[in-house]
Amino acid sequence: MSAPAILARGLAKRFGEKRAVSGVDFEIATGEVFGLLGPNGAGKTTTLRMLAGMLAPDEGVASVVGFDVVRSSRDVRERVGLLTEQPGLYDRLTTRENLAFYAQIYGVSPAEGEARIQRLLELLGIWAVRDERAGTLSKGTRQKVAIARALVHDPQVIFLDEPTSGLDPEAARTVRDSISELASSGRTLVLCTHNLFEVERLCRRVAVMRPGASGEGGRIVASTEVAGLRKGRREVEVTVAGDAGAFTGLTSALPGVASVQAQGSKVILSLAEGESVEARTPEVVRALVNAGAQVRAVIPHEVALEDAYLSLVAEEGAA
């Protein structure tokens, strides 16, 4: 098995008396798109900054593409692209000048830099604004320029801090599409967000952080595959004509079904752990129809990612 692109063990950081983050552990494989979820103040940005070689952790160790984030922070910074929450563009410089400056400080040759800038701006669909000053660009376009800046040195690892924060739905969608493109290019991506839709669409695995109680510092409360967050209710409720009791024996034999209940004209099938309601519902309906049932309604019940996330944060809040 190849070494992980990012490895964090027991990371902790405090600012003065205030503990910002404690006990952060995770491993991210090369080419993986990993989500770092959590409410404001959970320590996501601090974690990103430690992994990007900008802040030294007070406790624990971390490495990015094999480089220790403290001992080799410059090597880490050279290999990492960071999309900050605010685009942070120089308003008086044009799009191209902004990118050329960053290409230079990352040691990209001028000719290579020009070629990369053109390629990135075309990829992101903003080649037309190459000679416009950043201060005149729309919010969505600025964010795309910031994405191009994070990529101009062709980094191995990309950290995206709240990439669609404050964008209108259309701009957010184009930014998400750009991230999808990146994800398919084989780079390792860490997406730091509280936008669950984004996580669901882009990430395979997530770590959920929450703010610590009374000076504990933000910490990870769950680290799992996105699908694994949806623990709890997974049911298919089918309403048939007449008594549903006649069909319980049939449906309990279906693969992926853990238990079946009949309530009047309703058959309620609970699915086994890890089963997808979306995938199993057609099989259930097909089996019922083949057995002569007149299906009147089908209602799938699945825990939404949002509910799973909120319950995680609430559980911790209550603890």
Binding site: G88, F101, Y102
Partner: protein
């Protein structure tokens, strides 16, 4: 060094495109160059009467010049006094620029991508310092060239030869001006690393000019004469202060400190 030069070039480009900053930078030379030339012209063209006696008494320490003619001696001492006035320029212009370029990065939220880059703290401070010192020094030298030309043309009927640049002025422009540019810049970088906005950084750093202006006033009122020895010691002091403060500025321009305080 290549990275530092890239930062310098970027900052210079931003300065060139900042109309407000350019106007502020031009304001000082626009008053400091014509005013002394006008004074020289006045001394030369108007009978000084009682004022001549007053000035001769006030400036008696400075009047040990080789000019027997009291009018020539007065012009010479006035031109000499202008050194301290002129040196306010290289001290003050970097304050305007550095406050914008250092604290301004925080205000405009451009500091975080910069800190995420491979640039070291020392490279950032050096690049930013050069971006403040180079234009300030350029303006000072151009202003001096115009000042020398204006004084030489205006005073020619009296002296029949160019009087500038002389030794003290050359020392001031070539040695003291770069040292003061650096001092103004370094103090502003230091202040900028502690305060949260560029205007506040500018206002605090501008206090550096106050003791210097006091010297100018004392000199023009005749209470003090700043001779060559003063400027020599002053230069040594400024050089030592520059070295110490630059070291402190680099140390204070620490990623952790900036991120925990600013971003």
């Amino acid at each position: 060094m290549r990275r530092t030069l890239a930062l310098l070039a970027k900052d210079l480009r931003e300065i060139r495109r900042s109309r407000g900053l350019l106007v502020s930078m031009a304001a000082l030379p626009m008053t400091m160059v014509p005013l002394p030339i006008f004074l020289v012209w006045t001394f030369e063209h108007f009978p000084l009467g009682e004022a001549q006696n007053l000035l001769t008494t006030a400036y008696r320490d400075g009047l040990r010049s080789p000019f027997a003619d009291p009018r020539m001696a007065l012009v010479a001492v006035m031109v000499h006094h202008c050194i301290s006035l002129f040196l306010v320029m290289p001290l003050f212009i970097p304050v305007l620029i550095a406050a914008q370029s250092v604290a301004g990065e925080k205000e405009r939220r451009t500091i975080e991508p910069l800190l995420a880059s491979p640039l070291s703290g020392a490279e950032i401070v050096l690049g930013k310092s050069l971006a403040a010192v180079v234009p300030a020094l350029g303006i000072t030298w151009v202003a001096f060239a115009l000042f020398a030309l204006g004084v030489n043309v205006t005073a020619r009927p009296l002296f029949h030869r160019p009087i500038l640049p002389d030794g003290p002025w050359l020392f001031a422009v070539l040695v003291l001006a770069p040292l003061l540019c650096f001092l103004g810049n370094t103090v502003t970088v230091l202040v900028s690393s502690r305060v949260s906005d560029s205007r506040l950084a500018q206002q605090i750093s501008a206090l550096l000019v106050v003791p210097f202006m006091a010297l100018v006033v004392l000199q023009f009122t005749g209470l003090l004469f700043l001779g060559s020895w003063f400027y020599l010691w002053f230069g040594l002091g400024a050089a030592a202060l520059d070295a110490v403060l630059f070291g402190v500025a680099v140390r204070l321009f620490d990623r952790q400190r900036i991120l925990s305080r600013w971003a």
